[in-house]
């Protein structure tokens, strides 16, 4: 593992990027050199709140993916596994993205040789609809006028079309029920170290991206992009490295505090009584890969009641994958009944971790301890 500061040598990319355009430049290098079939990255569709995963095959289109989109809590592991399994791709990943990809790699559902993973440090994401409402309520701005946003120094900062900026402390927003998604508030994995590279602005000088090079493949990416003349690098100062570490530790400390506050509330959850058995939580889960072979589809799972018995319905899922839950919060996001599904799964993963030391998508074990993919017909 080593550190480097990097920025794009392409003026347009440098300007469009969140902090120097290093990520976009590495993608451009990969596409231009023919090392990948495509780049999977977020592109704003209707506005900055509407980031949509997009497969880019022409490097000229990459500029549309530059910048950060905190109001786009998407996941890509599922997309890669289901639709891009045979493609050689590069992908930008948040910590929960790479954690789910890692779990799928461990289950032989994704071939790591086909992937370049460019990690993005993550302080959390905001749901787009509540994010717009938050801006309407707590900022002197029309949500439609926001052209970009960022999370920095404990603040959610918006930039308006007239060039002005407004910032509100995330803590204040979250006290009022807004700000980052609940799972992001308790997430204690902020730097995606299982990705080939982990990029971000923590510890970086203005106009530069701080990159942690996590493996040999990551080093090859930096060397290759430099050689291609699109990336400029320099070594970060000790103070920069220390500053970045400090930010990470503060965020982890905040997450742990949130965990301590929220995990006990699981015991009192009665939200299951409004479960409509729609299977949205299962279908979106980036770890669930059994599909038609899912135990919940089996004839002996005779659970016709609406709502289903939580111990039967969620119990099956909990026993199958909670040890690999990466707390991405997608199950919360898609539940039509707003049941805080991920809180339960995440709490159980932490219990499993306390017993086994296994952190989903982070530990280097070849499989979660005691995991078996075998299924036994009852």
């Amino acid at each position: 593992m080593s550190y480097v500061l990097a920025k794009s040598k392409d003026e347009e990319i440098h300007k469009a990027g969140e902090c120097g355009g290093a990520v976009t430049s590495i993608f451009k290098y990969l596409l231009d050199e023919g090392l990948v079939d495509g780049v999977l990255a977020l592109r704003p569709c209707d506005d900055v709140y509407d980031g949509v995963p997009t497969l880019i095959t022409n490097s000229e289109d990459l500029i549309g993916t530059a910048g950060s989109y905190h109001c786009a809590p998407t996941m890509v592991g599922d997309l890669i596994q289901k639709y891009l399994i045979d493609k050689k791709i590069a992908v930008s990943v948040k910590p929960c993205d790479i954690r789910s990809i890692d779990e799928l790699i461990k289950r032989h559902k994704i071939n790591p040789d086909n992937l370049y993973t460019i990690g993005l440090n993550c302080g959390g994401t905001v749901s787009p609809v509540s994010g717009r409402k938050m801006i309407d309520l707590f900022y002197e701005a029309n949500p439609d006028d926001v052209i970009s946003e960022e999370i920095d120094k404990g603040q959610f900062i918006i930039e308006l079309a007239d060039g002005s900026e407004e910032a509100v402390k995330i803590h204040d927003l979250e006290e009022k029920g807004y700000g980052r998604r609940n799972n992001c508030q308790r997430c204690d994995v902020k730097i995606p170290r299982k990705a080939n590279l982990a990029c971000g602005n923590w510890g970086a000088e203005d106009g530069w991206t701080f990159i942690e090079i996590n493996d040999e493949k990551g080093q090859e990416l930096i060397d290759g992009a430099k050689k291609a003349g699109i990336l400029e690098t320099k070594s970060p100062s000790d103070a920069a490295v220390e500053g970045r570490s400090k930010v990470e530790n503060i965020m982890i400390k905040m997450a742990k505090k949130n965990q301590d506050a929220t995990y006990p509330s699981v015991n009192g959850i009665d939200d299951w009584s409004r479960c409509i058995s729609c299977y949205a939580c299962r279908d979106i889960c980036p770890i669930c890969w059994c599909y038609e072979n899912c135990e919940l589809n089996k004839s002996y799972f005779d659970e016709k009641d609406i709502p289903p018995s939580p111990i039967a319905f969620q119990g099956v899922r909990l026993s199958h994958m909670s040890f690999s839950c990466c707390d991405c919060g997608q199950c919360d996001d898609v539940c039509p009944m707003d049941i805080p599904v991920s809180l339960i799964f995440d709490k159980l993963q932490k219990k499993y971790c306390n017993r086994t030391g296994y952190v989903a998508g982070v530990s280097t074990d070849s499989k979660p301890p005691l995991y078996s993919p075998d299924k036994v017909e009852l």
Partner: protein, 342 residues
């Protein structure tokens, strides 16, 4: 090439957004549309499964279940319409506003009987918004809205979490709507309204997707509070502004006299206690194979909801537009009508 595109869910009148995943112009999956103001990326099972129809896509016209040239099928349809004086046109809540206008004017021009079923509900000019539901101090719910229209049910859950009282009238013994309600009755809607009307104030909302009889609609309206009728089909509310609706009994009566039935974009055979095979010619205009196309004498393919541009009006009265996300050579309803007019 993998693409994710925005569209609207076709499964009921709530008007949820949904993303579809396309691979080489074939729909292969759905993806949460989290930016959509109605549902914030949440879709019910019906919505997510709506793409399942594409394995049953109809691309060729058929007569007596045998594929035929499209022009031959059009000629046959025109002949049937011109040769019979008892032709009924079934307008559906699945049709877009423009399609409904075209179907209606075609029916008027050819002097055909038009029928339209709106779940035994009717049009109400002023309806509550979904935000009104979550901000309500009291919500009266008629029908298992949480289960049948979950993305409006979610707003009722929010109202409950905001401190609202929830009273429901549900015939089923068990339901998720009852589970979140302060009190639930299973008697008549009239009794239910009489029992709980004194709990209502200016911010209250009556949400319903079913009633016992037409008088219930009058009674709900007479209460004078905000109301939100939820229809089973995407554009039922929009079409109620274009065409009068009929009760099931009226439609069955019309079908009894019908010699030729034209069904636009719907699967109706299981919705009515009627032997559709007793009609001389059933002509179905459909994007997908279904129970109605199975018993139809002539089937004409039309564009699916992912292949054309249009607009619909959701349950809260908001006009929503959608654009094609897939390329298609199949004709739209409007184009098909032009061909039949020929």
């Amino acid at each position: 090439m993998l693409e994710i595109k925005h569209t609207l869910c076709p499964s009921c009148s709530v008007g949820c957004g949904i993303n579809v995943i396309l691979e080489n112009n074939a729909v292969v999956g759905t993806f949460p549309y989290k930016r959509h103001p109605v549902n914030a990326g949440k879709n019910c099972a019906n919505g997510r499964n709506s793409i399942g129809n594409f394995v049953n896509k109809i691309n060729e016209a058929s007569i007596s279940q045998a594929n035929v040239d499209l022009d031959k099928a059009f000629a046959e349809v025109s002949k049937e319409i011109n040769a019979n004086d008892k032709v009924t046109v079934f307008l559906s809540g699945n049709n877009s506003l423009a399609d409904a206008e075209a179907i209606k004017s075609f029916s008027e021009e050819k002097n055909l009987d038009l029928v339209f079923y709106a779940d035994d509900l009717r049009n109400f000019e002023d309806v509550a918004s979904y935000d009104d539901v979550e901000d309500a101090s009291c919500v009266l719910v008629i029908g298992d809205v949480l289960y049948e229209n979950p993305l409006i049910g979610r707003r009722i859950v929010h109202a409950k979490q905001n401190g609202a009282k929830i009273f429901s009238n549900i015939k089923a013994e068990k339901s998720v709507t009852a589970n979140i309600s302060d009190e639930t009755t299973s008697g008549s809607v009239q009794e239910f309204l009489d029992t709980y009307k004194d709990n209502l104030d200016d911010s209250s909302v009556v949400v319903f997707n079913t009633v016992d009889c037409e008088d219930d609609l009058d009674k709900i309206e007479e209460l004078g509070f905000k109301i939100l009728p939820v229809y089973s089909k995407t554009n039922t509310k929009g079409i109620l502004s274009i065409a009068d609706s009929n009760s099931k009994e009226e439609i069955i009566e019309a079908l009894n006299d019908t010699k030729v039935l034209l069904i636009f974009n719907d699967d109706v055979v299981d919705d009515f206690d009627f032997d559709f095979k007793s009609i001389s010619k059933v002509i179905s205009f459909s994007a997908f194979k279904n129970n109605t196309t199975e018993i139809s004498d002539i089937v004409i393919p039309i564009k699916s909801w992912l292949e054309y541009e249009g607009s619909v009006v959701n349950a809260m009265g908001e006009t929503q537009t959608f654009v094609p996300v897939m390329e298609s050579d199949v004709l739209s309803v409007e184009e098909v009508i032009e061909k039949i007019k020929g």
